[in-house]
């Protein structure tokens, strides 16, 4: 085991692997550690992703595409359906991933680019040199090791510790997290669209999703805003939904997880440390999607690490470029999503129905979410007045 690297990446999810791969391709000496013994498993994800955003990073591969998706359908509390995000030529606009395979393939790409990978290796703290982050303390197979590095990347997901150790408060308040439960349901034909059931009827401050997973299966899940969870829990809401909506479905897997929906946090870098992906709370507060944001952020983080190495400066002064770059892209998007989410969770089911019906004479089938929201705002200015700054 080596005891010194240029960069150590903590966490081998999509954000970590893209960071490690980018660093390795830039000639840096990089180690990626994963505390679990298996990368990608157990899954904590609904596995839906947009093709455009994903294919910037990786060529499509049948090994990790569980199903191709034609678009999205939103179902209002009264059953009104809004078709959106589909392509006029019926091209695939999204995939449902097989994360167990996807995450491994990404980690393997990082390894093939030259990164060292260690599994069953858990970071337990940071090393410091003159106050600056200078590596990690890591436990591998029950033994403690110090591993030095110029930069530590915290890509350690919703449970992120690296940021906290570095003095960045990443703890999520109950209203900053969606707590989720999902079943992989068999004996069920979900069609070719991802479906989103919205309204208090299904979940308070969250939604129910059905993502086709190929071969008569689908990921069916529910998220509930942490602040509304307690007496009612994600698992009970999901059981209720499945019993009433998919009574013949057979549950062949259970997935649980928490999704950060806080929007951008105050800072994601410090001297010798960068946070990426869910650890940096970069998931989308409205959709809950986090995979491609994490990958985009990982790419930027990797590029900034390469520059830092060239300059020989690993302080905030150099690493701040990461912060600046993700804020104008991912940051702007998730800030908008946060505003929309904060309004939508205040609307009751009747108001949501009203919004859905305002689209009765609109063909939204090829609209993406921002466009659809703009149309909704035009038609319901009073109800959506809070969002006026967005349009």
């Amino acid at each position: 085991m080596k005891d010194r690297y240029d960069v150590i990446v903590v966490g081998a999810g999509p954000g970590g692997s893209i960071t490690a791969k980018t660093c390795a391709e830039g000639g840096l000496d990089v180690l990626m550690i994963e505390k679990r013994q298996e990368i990608g498993d157990p899954v904590r994800c609904a596995e839906g992703v947009g093709t455009d955003a994903l294919l910037k990073h990786i060529a499509p591969d049948k090994r990790w595409i569980a199903a191709e998706v034609k678009g999205s359908r939103i179902i209002a509390p009264d059953g009104t359906e809004i078709l959106m995000s589909s392509d006029a030529a019926m091209k695939d606009v999204g995939y449902t991933l097989e994360r167990k395979v996807f995450d491994r393939v990404l980690a393997q790409k990082a390894a093939m680019a030259g990164a060292d990978v260690m599994v069953k290796t858990r970071a337990t703290g940071l090393l410091r040199n003159n106050g600056k982050v200078a590596g990690i303390k890591a436990m591998y197979m029950g033994e403690m090791n110090d591993i030095k590095a110029d930069i530590v990347i915290g890509a350690d997901g919703v449970e992120s510790k690296v940021g906290r150790w570095g003095g960045i408060d990443t703890s999520l308040k109950p209203h900053d997290i969606e707590t989720c439960a999902q079943f992989l349901i068999s004996n069920f034909d979900p069609g070719e669209y991802s479906e989103f059931y919205i309204g208090e009827k299904y979940s308070a401050g969250g939604y129910v999703w059905i993502f086709p997973k190929g071969g008569h299966t689908a990921n069916v899940g529910v998220g509930i805003l942490g602040s509304k969870s307690g007496k009612i829990r994600a698992i009970t809401l999901l059981q209720k939904f499945v019993e009433t909506t998919i009574p013949d479905g057979k549950i062949i897997e259970m997935v649980l997880g928490g999704v950060p929906v806080s929007g951008p946090i105050e800072r994601t870098v410090t001297d010798g440390l960068i946070l990426v992906g869910d650890a940096a709370r970069q998931s989308d507060p409205l959709t809950g999607g986090g995979i491609t944001n994490a990958m985009d952020a990982g790419k930027i983080a990797g590029e900034v690490c390469i520059k830092a190495k060239e300059k020989g400066d690993y302080s905030v002064k150099t690493l701040k470029e990461y912060e600046d770059r993700w804020r104008v892209t991912i940051g702007n998007e998730i800030s908008r999503s946060l505003q929309v989410k904060n309004l939508l969770i205040k609307l009751n089911d009747e108001q949501l129905n009203q919004l859905a019906h305002s689209l009765d004479d609109v063909d939204a089938s090829t609209m993406e979410l921002p466009k659809l929201l703009a149309v909704l705002f035009k038609k319901n200015p009073k109800l959506l007045w809070e969002l006026r700054s967005l349009f």
Partner: protein, 54 residues
């Protein structure tokens, strides 16, 4: 922690204001900094956590 119910998703670790929780594979560990605030129990998707006041 009800270890038979816990789905080791780590959501509780993310909301702990004290960083008192850690997830190792399927095992949730609670250290001495826990203040029994109960946020973890509130957000657990399956209700596997219960706070006992010390």
């Amino acid at each position: 922690v009800n270890r038979f119910k816990c789905g080791y998703c780590g959501a509780c670790v993310g909301v702990c204001p004290k960083g008192a929780l850690e997830l190792i594979e399927t095992w949730i560990e609670v250290d001495d900094s826990c203040t029994s605030c109960g946020i973890c129990a509130k957000i657990c998707p399956v209700g596997a956590l219960e706070v006992k006041v010390k």
